[in-house]
């Protein structure tokens, strides 16, 4: 610690350069913090998936619709407890920017399969009794200032009404929360009644987008999935059944491998940063050769000089990384407010520790070459100005 003022003073030798380098590092870690939070948010859906739920879709694509008759056949299997037909509604509220997930579901079966969706009993009953009723997540209700009893006009994105109209008017009968507040962003959605949806839509009546099944024993998930698919093998509507986790992963992959995209962006950023910071550190040491020679003259050993230069690199990088992560923490709530489904965006402790690890590694990689140069400095040559 007694060398800290010396290291700090060395960083202040060329303040503008140090500040600009620090800002570059801070921006890289700001980007890291934000992209990492997005990645975590994407994967949250995968992590919270129920282990005792299976999802059956068309064999080749999630967009391939399945006959409604599949439901009874799936339910007939001994290991299956409940089945709910589900469909993607794909509309928006007032403006296309106000997009959020809407699902038509078989309300009673669906809600009993998802105990993590917490809805007051009277509102649940209202949903069961009102064909045009919908229930929405608390976060959505807050965002659009909806209250119970409101009529919500939803613009159809895929499904027009049978009279050709494009505006579906629903009655808001319930506002739900999640059992675990951390999962709110994963359930930021509107649930529509499947029976009303199927009756009122213009086409594809009697079909479902997918079926969610609750099974009696999670250990039999693999066997049951095969049994379900076997029911429809060689039919015109073959299926593919996965655990809910695998289904969610597949759904996310349809958008692209988010993790890979994020890692690639961050890789490019940090690779560029290596050169930028490395050049700054080399320049800084080059300019201070006489000063470093004086320290060695005074008795500072080679390893100590190496440690001092590495310490500079470490101090600069860690401070800048903390600034970047701090900025990300401040900016994430604002960003989340504009991204439906991402209300829980946050930098996890694991991501913060990883960031500090990356910062340390960066400091060592960029600091080591100039530190070695400083360590190997020949005092007589350096003092004579050669």
């Amino acid at each position: 610690m007694k060398y800290l003022p010396l290291i700090w003073a060395a960083l202040g030798r060329r303040k503008p350069r140090t500040i600009l380098t620090g800002l570059s590092i801070a921006v890289a870690f700001l980007l890291y913090g934000m992209l990492n939070a997005v990645n975590v948010a994407f994967n949250n859906g995968v992590e919270i998936a129920g282990v005792d739920r299976l999802v059956t879709t068309g064999r080749y694509s999630i967009t391939q619709i399945l006959p409604y008759g599949h439901e009874a056949q799936i339910r007939s299997l001994p290991g299956v407890e409940q089945v709910a037909a589900s469909n993607w509604f794909g509309g928006y509220y007032q403006d296309q920017r106000n997009f959020f997930p809407q699902f038509a579901v078989e309300q009673e079966a669906y809600l009993s399969m998802y105990p993590e969706i917490v809805l007051p009993a009277e509102q649940k009953q209202a949903f069961f009794n009102t064909r045009t009723g919908v229930v929405v997540a608390k976060t959505l209700a807050e965002r659009f200032h909806w209250k119970l009893g409101d009529k919500i006009p939803m613009q159809a994105g895929i499904w027009p009404l049978k009279d050709g109209g494009n505006v579906w008017t629903f009655d808001l009968v319930g506002i739900f929360d999640t059992a675990n507040p951390k999962d709110r962003s994963q359930y930021e959605m509107m649930l529509i009644r499947y029976d009303y949806f199927d009756e009122a839509r213009q086409f594809a009546k009697g079909t479902a987008g997918w079926y969610v099944s609750k099974i009696k024993n999670a250990n039999e998930a693999g066997t049951l999935a095969k049994q379900i698919d076997a029911l429809f093998a060689n039919s015109p509507n073959e299926t593919r059944t996965d655990t809910e986790k695998a289904f969610n992963q597949g759904f996310i992959k349809q958008l692209g491998d988010i993790g890979l995209i994020i890692r690639s962006i961050l890789g490019a950023v940090f690779f560029t940063l290596l050169f930028l910071t490395g050049n700054t550190m080399m320049q800084s040491v080059r300019e201070r050769i006489p000063e470093l020679a004086v320290l060695k003259t005074l008795g500072y050993s080679d390893p100590l000089v190496l440690a001092l230069v590495l310490g500079e690199s470490l101090l600069l990088t860690l401070i800048a990384a903390l600034v970047g992560l701090g900025l990300a923490t401040i900016l994430l709530p604002g960003m989340a407010a504009h991204l439906p489904g991402f209300s829980g965006l946050t930098i996890t402790a694991q991501a913060a520790v990883a960031a500090l690890g990356i910062a340390t590694l960066l400091a060592i990689v960029v600091g080591l070459p100039p530190a070695l140069r400083a360590m190997r400095l020949d005092i007589v040559t350096a003092l004579s100005g050669h």
């Binding site: 060398y3 003073a9 030798r13 320290l295 003259t297 005074l298 500072y300 050993s301 390893p303 003092l383």
Partner: protein, 230 residues
């Protein structure tokens, strides 16, 4: 005769420049007594600074023995030599060589960071050293805020602060005007006479050499004349 604090026997030093080997010091024998103030004089390229570097433990001889304070330093490794320097030698350079980003007191504190002294103890030693060189009131000033003479005083305080056996000065007044140079030389003389510091000083300036107790003249890597000042 007083005890020899520096003793060189058969010391040679050569450098390789290109394909040629240049012999800077040739089989040199020298003895400096404790409490001496020695002025090393001679034309450029005579080997004065090389000799000073060997005595100060900054360089190794090509041949011969260098004994300082009873210890053979020519056989020490680079690490051991660094540790030895921190305990036994104080350096004063022509261009002061202070760290521009540090205040005067922080510059003076640099050698003490290598010791186990506490922060408070270091602060006391620094204050005393600055007091000795007459710069107690400039402790917080950075080198850029000091005159040449003041900067050299800070450098002397830095050389003194760890109470070394030997002060090694390379042209300490080479960058100063006559009046300031006399003040610095007077200070070195005081350190020699009143504090008993052994000083080896390289200088081109005959007037500066007059402040020393002994003068030693070199040419082409050899000692050619030794004299005592009145």
């Amino acid at each position: 005769m007083s005890e020899a604090i520096v003793s060189l026997r058969g010391v040679s030093k050569s450098y390789v420049r290109g394909k040629q080997s240049v012999e800077v010091l040739q089989k040199l024998d020298l003895s400096i007594s404790r409490g001496d103030f020695l002025a090393l004089m001679g034309p450029s390229g005579s080997g004065k600074t090389t000799l000073l570097n060997l005595i100060g433990g900054l360089d190794h001889p090509s041949a011969g023995e260098v004994v300082v304070g009873g210890q053979r330093i020519d056989q020490l490794s680079s690490g051991a030599l660094a540790q030895w320097r921190s305990h036994h030698v104080g350096f004063v350079f022509q261009f002061y060589n202070l760290l521009g980003v540090l205040s005067a007191e922080k510059n003076v504190e640099l050698p003490l960071l290598l010791t186990p002294l506490s922060k408070a103890q270091r602060a006391r030693h620094v204050a005393t050293a600055l007091e000795i060189v007459g710069l107690a009131d400039r402790a917080k000033h950075k080198p850029s805020e000091l005159s040449g003479g003041q900067a050299q005083r800070v450098a002397i305080a830095r050389a003194l602060v760890a109470d070394p056996t030997l002060l090694v000065c390379d042209e300490p007044t080479g960058d100063l005007d006559r009046k300031t140079a006399d003040e610095i030389l007077g200070l070195l003389q005081t350190l020699n006479r009143q504090h008993g510091k052994t000083i080896v000083m390289v200088t081109h300036d005959p007037k500066a050499a007059e402040y020393a107790t002994h003068q030693l003249h070199m040419d082409k890597g050899r000692l050619i004349e030794q004299s005592a000042n009145a």
